[in-house]
């Protein structure tokens, strides 16, 4: 293992400009991903997961803006690269798959050609060679009869099939890092597991690290080694995935874990009402003073209302932002 992690994000801050006012939509976000590691970002809708991913590849658009922090890829700062250099990283070293496989493929182009375009664009392959490798890429994402499928248009494929094609495109050039933004949310449950297995196996084979973004804690815990829990634009807890389940430290994480439906043996212990976290995520314009979770928190004290908790180290390379963690 080299000393520097593959991706090191420090104190990332993303501003949202509304009129003349600026709000920090994401603040003090720091995490690192090692080579080939799968890191999960989990949190409710609107907590800043997706824009964090977009910030990593320099694709924030107004009214959002990268306002501070550093993003290092292999120790090199990439957040201030010029547009052309950043573009060369995208798709080749950092790639991404999306929530909506229905819309992420060009409807007027055969899928094989869309995969082939990556080889032409990033590796200077000839079209003939690229088309041949596209068929191999389709086969690698376990598409049956890849030669025939390569000629299909996106509307001829099912949702799961399209997501496979999208994965084939994203992993075509064996990137170092794959950003997976809710990759299975729009798919059937049975297909979800296949897609996750596929991502895991392919990334392991290619040595690609994954930033898995989801609101589904169960999925994240299954797929990732370490997990960052985001709330209201901040990472409130970073832990090993099994630790998060076994002993959640931040009250928000506890709430998320408690709100998971129980199946099998644990459900037999007793039928009980599904737990929920009271209240909703505050809007960017109205983050509460002090700890941002205190209005919804059972452990909140006067200290929480006044003072914003800083990161506290936890045993085993973890961090938590809470005055009353444990």
């Amino acid at each position: 293992m080299s000393a520097a992690p593959l991706l090191q994000v420090d104190d990332l801050r993303i501003d949202l400009a509304l009129g003349d006012e600026r709000f920090a939509a994401v603040q003090d976000v720091s995490f690192s991903i090692g080579r080939g590691e799968t890191f999960g970002l989990v949190g409710e809708s609107g907590c800043g997961k997706s824009i964090t991913a977009l910030a990593l590849i320099g694709l924030l658009r107004p009214p959002l803006r990268l306002a501070g922090g550093t993003v290092r890829l292999d120790g090199r700062e990439i957040q201030s690269l010029r547009a052309a250099e950043m573009r060369r990283l995208r798709g080749k070293r950092i790639s991404m798959i999306f929530q909506e496989p229905m819309t992420a493929l060009n409807p007027v182009s055969p899928v094989g050609r869309q995969i082939a375009e990556m080889f032409v664009l990033h590796e200077g392959a000839t079209w003939q060679e690229a088309e041949r490798r596209a068929v191999e890429a389709l086969a690698s994402v376990r598409v049956a009869a890849p030669e025939r499928r390569a000629k299909d248009y996106p509307h001829q494929l099912s949702g799961g099939m399209r997501q496979r094609v999208m994965i084939a495109i994203a992993l075509a050039c064996s990137p170092d890092l794959l950003l997976a933004d809710e990759p299975t949310t729009a798919l059937d449950v049975t297909v979800q597991a296949e897609i996750l297995d596929l991502v895991r196996d392919l990334c392991a084979a290619k040595g690609t690290a994954v930033l898995m973004i989801s609101h589904d804690l169960g999925l994240i815990a299954n797929a990732c080694r370490r997990v960052g829990v985001m709330y209201a634009g901040r990472i409130v807890e970073t832990r090993a995935a099994e630790e998060v389940f076994r002993a959640p430290s931040h009250p928000y994480t506890s709430g998320l874990v408690a709100s998971l439906p129980l199946l099998g043996a644990r459900a037999k212990e007793g039928r009980r009402r599904l737990k929920e976290i009271a209240g909703v995520v505050p809007s960017v314009a109205g983050f509460p003073h002090g700890c941002r979770f205190h209005p919804r928190c059972g452990r909140a004290s006067d200290l929480c209302r006044e003072d914003d908790p800083g990161p506290t180290p936890l045993p085993g390379d973890g961090l938590v932002r809470c005055h009353h963690h444990g």
Binding site: R87, F98, L121
Partner: protein, 273 residues
């Protein structure tokens, strides 16, 4: 797939005109320019001269066939120039936005505000009359509708998931425009282009009629009409047949455009699926 009557009729008419133009040397009875014979002047349509002869005794049937070459060349080439200009400007303006969009939109509005025929007239007055000048004049004055269409399409397409995905995957701006946006807006562009071709044929006829297009003695439908002005009551066939040729060509192109719209329109396609 159901093919509309518009498409069949329009396509047939247009194909007839194309065939007439391409095969003119074999179909024509006489040379359209050289075979003037005052002995045969103003013969009515009949066995020897199917469409009759004009004041110089030239066979109108032959001249109409050769005239198709000029009209089609002008219609197709000038509309291609218009389409290329309109798509390049509109697509880039819609995609990039900002000052470039302001500039292109302003230019489009400026061009729209001047009647295109007047604009073409002014250009022809500067250039020397002839086929090349005609192509330039008509090719530079009718791109604004295509431009607006391309810009509007680019605006709505650029927020599509696959355009965002292409950005994330490292596509450059030009590659995104060519591979992601252009193929998705091609349907309406082709429709507008076909309709515009009909307009260009008409504009050529008008300019030639006014003496600013194709110079006599070369046969163009517009200049033939212009020549026939004085004999319209005494020898109406001299003006009827070129007029009919213009009518059939423009009708064919307009029907073809409508027919293409029926099968290329995204909404039509959605109904089919």
């Amino acid at each position: 797939m159901r093919i509309g009557a518009n498409l069949v009729i329009g396509g047939t008419l247009f194909a007839l005109v194309v065939i007439a133009g391409v095969l003119a040397p074999w179909l024509a009875h006489t040379d359209p320019v050289m075979d003037a014979n005052l002995m045969n002047a103003e013969e009515p349509p009949g066995g020897a001269f199917w469409f009759g002869t004009d004041a110089q005794g030239r066979d109108i049937y032959s001249r109409v066939l050769y005239g198709a070459r000029i009209s089609l060349t002008v219609g197709i080439v000038s509309q291609l120039i218009n389409t290329v200009i309109g798509v390049c400007l509109g697509l880039s303006a819609g995609y990039w936005g900002g000052w470039w969009d302001d500039f292109v939109s302003g230019l489009t509005n400026l061009v729209l505000a001047i009647p295109s025929l007047i604009f073409a007239l002014a250009l022809m007055a500067i250039l020397t009359p002839g086929l090349t000048s005609l192509l330039i004049a008509l090719g530079l004055t009718n791109w604004s509708f295509t431009c607006r269409l391309a810009r509007a399409s680019a605006l709505s397409l650029k927020s599509q998931g696959y355009v965002q995905a292409a950005k994330v995957l490292g596509y450059g701006d030009v590659r995104i425009m060519v591979t992601q946006l252009l193929p998705n807006m091609l349907g309406p562009i082709i429709v507008i282009g076909t309709l515009g071709m009909g307009g260009a044929v008409l504009a050529e006829a008008a300019l030639s009629f006014l003496g600013l297009g194709i110079r006599p003695p070369f046969p163009s439908w517009g200049s033939m009409l212009s020549d026939a002005r004085d004999q319209i009551t005494t020898a109406p066939w001299i003006s009827i047949f070129p007029g009919l040729a213009i009518f059939i060509t423009v009708l064919g192109l307009n029907l073809l455009g409508d027919g293409l719209r029926d099968i290329l329109d995204p909404q039509g396609r959605a109904g089919k699926a």
